[in-house]
């Protein structure tokens, strides 16, 4: 469902110019829960941003559902992200001044779904992640793991084809992190959806259907990393 070819990206100019991605190819199928792992600075976040239509590559192409996403203009691309991709950011980015349910409803509201309907759907989605009782609290009153689940609810509310997680367990303790990732695998992953997770956290590797390794702007063959399958 996703195919990236020859993606390069550099930052900065002249002497301080550095290549973050040096020609990356990647293909992801429906039903996959793909991990992108690698040392800090190897380009994981950069790659994730490019394949999810957030950061423009210097060269290369990205097809999502057969759409060459970087051929779209900004507004169309924004619409495409809204329809097709769900994001779970590392530090969640929930609005502290909205309730949990309102936060979850945002993708629907951006799609012009009527308010009442959006909130109803948000409540349903919150109950999928086990937070139906927290719907009217502001997110900062929730624990880290609960906030993570709110972010997941927001990402899945509009049934996206592709889910993107950046370091989903970085600010959670090991147990909570594992629980969340296993929950995602059990309940969120399905044959009509792909999930891509960037992580450092070897404790959760067991939940991946496939792991790709990055080093210095390249995808490298896995060595010593146990493929879950």
């Amino acid at each position: 469902m996703l195919k990236a070819t020859g993606v390069t990206k550099s930052f900065g100019e002249g002497a301080s110019r550095m290549m973050a991605l040096r020609g990356v190819d990647l293909a992801v199928d429906y039903g996959e829960m793909l991990y992108i792992v690698g040392p800090s600075g190897s380009g994981k976040t950069t790659l994730l941003s490019i394949i999810s239509g957030i950061l423009r590559p210097d060269s290369g192409q990205v097809f999502v559902k057969d759409q060459d996403i970087w051929a779209l203009d900004n507004d169309t691309l924004a619409g495409f992200r809204l329809q097709t991709i769900g994001f779970v950011f590392q530090d969640y980015h929930l609005f502290p001044r909205l309730t949990t349910a309102e936060n979850v409803a945002i993708p629907l509201i951006l799609r012009r779904t009527p308010w009442a309907q959006s909130l109803e759907k948000a409540r349903q989605t919150l109950s999928i992640v086990g937070l139906e009782k927290r719907e009217s609290l502001p997110p900062y009153k929730l624990s880290g793991g609960e906030q993570q689940r709110v972010a997941i609810a927001r990402a899945i509310i509009s049934s996206p084809d592709l889910l993107i997680f950046d370091e989903p367990t970085a600010s959670l303790d090991g147990d909570t992190g594992r629980k969340i990732v296993s929950f995602v695998k059990e309940n969120i992953l399905n044959p009509k959806r792909a999930i891509i997770i960037v992580t450092h956290d070897s404790r959760i590797y067991e939940y991946a259907t496939r792991v790709v390794h990055m080093e210095d702007g390249h995808i490298v063959p896995a060595e010593g990393v146990a493929d879950a399958h």
């Binding site: 957030i54 992200r81 980015h93 012009r112 308010w115």
Partner: protein, 378 residues
């Protein structure tokens, strides 16, 4: 309401501290602007009291006259000349001058004396006690019962005093539409008595009041009077001339303008600064919205909406505050010269809208420059 705007509203309202600062800042600014301009409107209005109260359609005067407070006497032949202008239905003389009233306790009080044409009594006030025809009695004066009335020791019909060493009897009380700006009591009498009793100059006529036959005659009359070397104005033109005098030829207009501008700048800086902080506080969330798929135009809509909400609230509160304060002040000080006019309101509204637009511009610049990639990288 559009869901995005509803989200924008919630973000704004739930940040109570900044919301309050924004609204209070704009309220304060709108209040001061309305107050300043209302005060000036009130001053202008009251300074035109004689023009409004006498109520003539056209006024003929010496070209050097700029306000109804100062008149330059005109010789009698001008009246005849004006009467013979085609298009003039009738023309009568008017005397406006200052008299010195000596009260029974021996103190003096300055007063405005208006002498109206003996034959027609054109420009007479509305009587509330006594009869207008009593103005023909010996030494008769009609006292205007306005806010300055008490300064002549609350005279009644029959009260006597001296005006410029002539005996004067109050034969009636009257009301006029607008109290004068300068706090002087006003007495009406006939033109002939006014010109006899008050210190004579070589010429006597302060103004000639003209009734044109029709609207179409106004311009020809103005031209004909101009050829006589005098100035004819409609009442509205005279009021405008008086306005211009206070606006540009006294320090008052400049001062009021400066204070209004300062109020505007204070509001602009408080609101601009607070709104900027508000946007900065939410900047990462706006970035996240962008990443999720909000278009720049949608974020701009949200910000403009937020700025307009605080703008209109501040404007409303500011105007209410100002109107309330003016009403209160008028209860305490009957002469308090301030009136909230549409012009004041319009001006304050425009200024507040500029404040809102400026604030949203700052916010929009910030928000359109966020790169969702930075949000991603945390």
């Amino acid at each position: 309401m559009n869901g995005l705007l509803r989200i924008a509203l919630k973000l704004l309202l739930n940040d109570r501290g900044k919301f309050a600062t924004l609204v209070i800042g704009i309220t304060f600014s709108a209040f001061l602007m309305t107050q300043m301009t209302s005060m000036f409107s009130g001053i202008l209005y009251q300074s035109a009291a004689n023009i409004i109260n006498v109520g003539a359609k056209m006024w003929v005067m010496d070209p050097a006259v700029e306000t109804p407070q100062n008149s330059i006497p005109m010789p009698a032949y001008v009246l005849d000349a004006v009467r013979s202008i085609p298009g003039v239905k009738f023309a009568v003389p008017l005397y406006i001058g200052a008299g010195l009233v000596k009260l029974h306790d021996g103190t003096y009080q300055a007063a405005t004396i208006i002498g109206i044409d003996d034959a027609s009594l054109f420009g007479r006030p509305r009587m509330i006690a006594g009869h207008i025809l009593d103005i023909y009695k010996n030494n008769a004066f009609i006292m205007v019962k306005d806010t300055n009335y008490a300064k002549l020791d609350d005279p009644k019909v029959g009260t006597t005093f001296e005006i410029n060493d002539h005996r004067a009897v109050v034969v009636g009380l009257a009301r006029t539409a607008v109290p004068g700006l300068f706090g002087l009591p006003t007495l009406y009498t006939t033109y002939s008595r006014a010109t006899q009793d008050l210190p004579p100059t070589r010429y006597e006529i302060s103004y000639i009041l003209v009734e044109p036959k029709g609207r179409a005659d106004i311009l020809p009359i103005e031209a004909a009077v101009h050829r006589l070397g005098y100035l004819a104005l409609t009442d509205q033109e005279f009021i405008a001339r008086n306005d211009r005098f206070y606006e540009f030829k006294t320090g008052m207009g400049t001062n009021i303008m400066m204070m209004t501008l300062i109020s505007f700048l204070v509001g602009l800086s408080i609101a601009g600064e607070t709104f900027y902080m508000f946007i900065l506080d939410n900047i990462e969330h706006f970035g996240a919205l962008k990443a999720i798929g909000a278009k720049s135009g949608e974020l701009i809509q949200m910000i403009v909406f937020q700025a307009l909400v605080v703008g209109f609230l501040g404007f409303g509160f500011g105007v209410l505050l100002s109107a309330g304060l003016i009403a209160l002040a008028k209860l305490q000080i009957p002469n308090y010269a301030a009136m909230v006019t549409y012009i004041s309101l319009g001006l304050a509204l425009v200024m507040v809208l500029i404040i809102s637009m400026f604030s949203s511009y700052i916010g929009i610049r910030k928000v359109t420059r966020i790169d969702p990639f930075d949000v991603f990288r945390g």
